[in-house]
Point group: C2
Chain length 413, copies 2
């Protein structure tokens, strides 16, 4: 066996101390990492169910909601998306996807597997979908569900969502928003937007590891999903009856059963991922402890500083300025520069990761994030100073020493 | 807001120090808990993909295989089961489930949602399915897949699997085994059994938290699954083509895409749950460091000691003695005793959790586990001593002081 594949030679976990300034995942808050070291509990121990109830309470303000059904799906952010869609959508249902990037495409990919009839209303990468286009599409296709992304990191655009849920409700449709890339960094206002289901992830602005997907579900959506309840034969009880709607196409992602698990019924489903629940709980405590408005302002200042610094270097920022996410910035790779060589130099010399891009933007832009624990002045400044040095070493002519002062000014001091 | 629901009042994570001697989850090994405190890495950083390759190498001996495709599904053990089934089975495929407990029923529940034609061959709870019954069922229904459970904690039975995979192959069927409750505690011999896909979980004999599902996939099964590959539109590349088979019904659980993610292609799928990967890696290092044979022997001695102690108290052990799992023991609740009162006293007085039961066994048996980090002499003895005291306080007449010496003798010293 070659030595690099001999398990007995693998040492203790010891990753390099790297600053992750890409589109996520980012470095987790040390408090979150430490919370995962707490010992486990039995899944129905009163302290464990107590922690589950606390998580429900902690994520309501983060989602901007009073929804009872605010909890976790045990998987990465993508698991939350699939749980939402497979539980709301039955085969043959018409679903309208508001698509302006890779993650809008992902919604269509997941919906295709569910057997939905997919309609889309689109914007080019780097723009958002105008409200009246959404309205027209709804009236054209009469969807049962309208699904979109809040912030699509593939394009760095944030879709405006004021009035979105109301528009859907008025047309008799449910609504869904994936907020993985914005939750904890930009305001999520599930109730004010009138959105039925919103999902997220920990690994971006919440400053945790990937692997747990917070979700909130309106009473209206919970009722819709409850009609599709189908309790497993091995754990049937007299006090829980099946619904009349079509059975949900996944067992693991069956939100009707997951709600029963998180309810006082405590109907067994999966074994809750306890360490990830501890992480999710601590992510929320960090954010609420700082205060949501303060957290959002910190992300906005970080994004403004990053953008100002990049522009001061003579680089061109990607996308419609009015709708850019505050926590990730796309910037064109100059024609004369090898984008991957710069990323490698950033990593090898400075232990800083910046992001590449997907699909039509691959090789055209870098993506620089400042999220969660990394949405901090010194980390933005370090990133800009390092990038300036790497660009210079690549022979790119730029005004030396301009980025850091410009970023500081944009930060507001 | 009532104080118990005010997020600002929730303190640091601080669970009670409880000994989890039920059917799992159990206390995680402290090394595993500490490994999760390591900082995160970008998902395509060379050190991260290096750790992914190490995890593949570490789990091969644990599964008893040389399969290239040995990796993690990001979710609880149930996620691994669903990923295996939805990726192998297309709607309309005949699947034979070898069912002898709650988790056999779970396989049928998941398969029903996939749209499989489900056939079963069954044993009463507390027994296993005879080999010739499986053989006859295969010849009766000509399945495309035969699926079963190795150790079903609901009944404490371990299905013998020598020759199981060969039998399926001879009939042209793929085979699947869920080994969640035995992996790391009893031998898993994927290659010797000739089984195509085996899945597990961390939270039992591997001594980790729930939330990551190790999986191994034979080349034959990988080829079958690869025919169903369907790359997402947002990340299509020229070097990866779609298969001709029916698209897999789930995006998150699409093992074709998950294999592409774990391959040198590194095709983006989910964002790997890094902290859980660190945990899975450390679980494997703990087990391989002790040595698999030594680990299995420790579980066998723990189970033998627990069983001997329970019998010395005058209790009756549940299930066919020839096929009982080594790491969890079912025992009848005496008629004169309130089972839940004993469990509560165990928890409140001794901070020890023992398990209740499901379905037809609910209220009839307790389940006592000794798994992973808790498969230790002193923990078995503490559990028996505490149970003796609690039974005595419930007024149950038993030979005082007999359990601990009997357990010690069974331990072998």
């Amino acid at each position: 066996m070659p030595p690099e594949l001999d398990p007995m030679l693998f040492g203790e976990i010891d990753p390099p101390q790297r600053l992750l300034m890409g589109p996520g995942p980012v470095n987790a808050h040390p408090r979150v990492l430490r919370a995962m070291s707490a010992d486990l509990l039995g899944q129905f121990d009163p302290e464990m169910t107590g922690y589950m109830n606390q998580v429900m309470a902690l994520y309501r303000p983060i989602f901007g909601t009073t929804n009872q059904w605010t909890m976790l799906v045990d998987g990465t952010a993508r698991a939350g998306i699939e749980a939402a869609l497979v539980s709301m959508v039955a085969p043959g249902d018409v679903v309208l996807v508001v698509n302006f990037g890779r993650f809008g495409l992902l919604l269509t990919e997941i919906l295709g597997r569910i057997g939905a009839v997919i309609e889309t209303v689109e914007a080019p990468w780097g723009e958002v979908v105008p409200f009246d286009a959404i309205e027209a599409a709804i009236h054209r296709c009469h969807p049962k569900l309208v699904a979109t992304i809040h912030g699509d990191t593939s394009t760095t655009m944030a879709q405006p969502l004021e009035g979105f849920g109301e528009l859907c409700r008025a047309a008799g449709a449910l609504s869904y928003v994936d907020a993985t890339a914005t939750i904890g960094g930009m305001e999520i206002a599930a109730d004010r937007w009138g959105v039925d289901v919103v999902t997220g992830g920990l690994q971006k602005c919440l400053g945790g590891p990937s692997g747990s997907a917070p979700i909130t579900i309106s009473d209206r959506a919970a009722q819709h999903i409850g009609k599709r309840r189908h309790v497993e034969q091995g754990i049937r009880r007299d006090d829980i009856t099946d619904g009349v709607g079509p059975r949900i196409g996944s067992n693991y992602f069956d939100l009707a059963m997951i709600m029963d698990y998180w309810s006082e019924k405590r109907l067994n489903h999966h074994t809750e991922a306890t360490s990830m629940l501890y992480a999710a709980r601590e992510c929320a405590r960090v954010v609420l402890g700082e205060g949501l408005d303060a957290t959002f302002a910190r992300h906005a200042k970080s994004g403004a500083a990053m953008t100002a610094g990049l522009r001061a270097m003579g680089l061109t920022v990607f996308g419609d300025d009015r709708y850019r996410m505050t926590n990730v910035t796309g910037v064109y790779i100059p024609d004369s520069v090898d984008g991957e060589a710069v990323r490698t130099a950033m990593r090898d010399l400075f232990e800083i990761e910046i992001g590449t891009a997907f699909g039509p933007l691959q090789g055209r832009i870098w993506r620089l994030g400042a999220m969660g624990y990394n949405a901090a002045k010194h980390k933005v400044l370090l990133t800009l100073a390092a990038l300036e040095a790497c660009l210079r070493m690549q022979g790119f002519a730029l005004p030396l020493g301009a980025a850091v002062p410009a970023a500081l000014e944009a930060w507001g001091q």
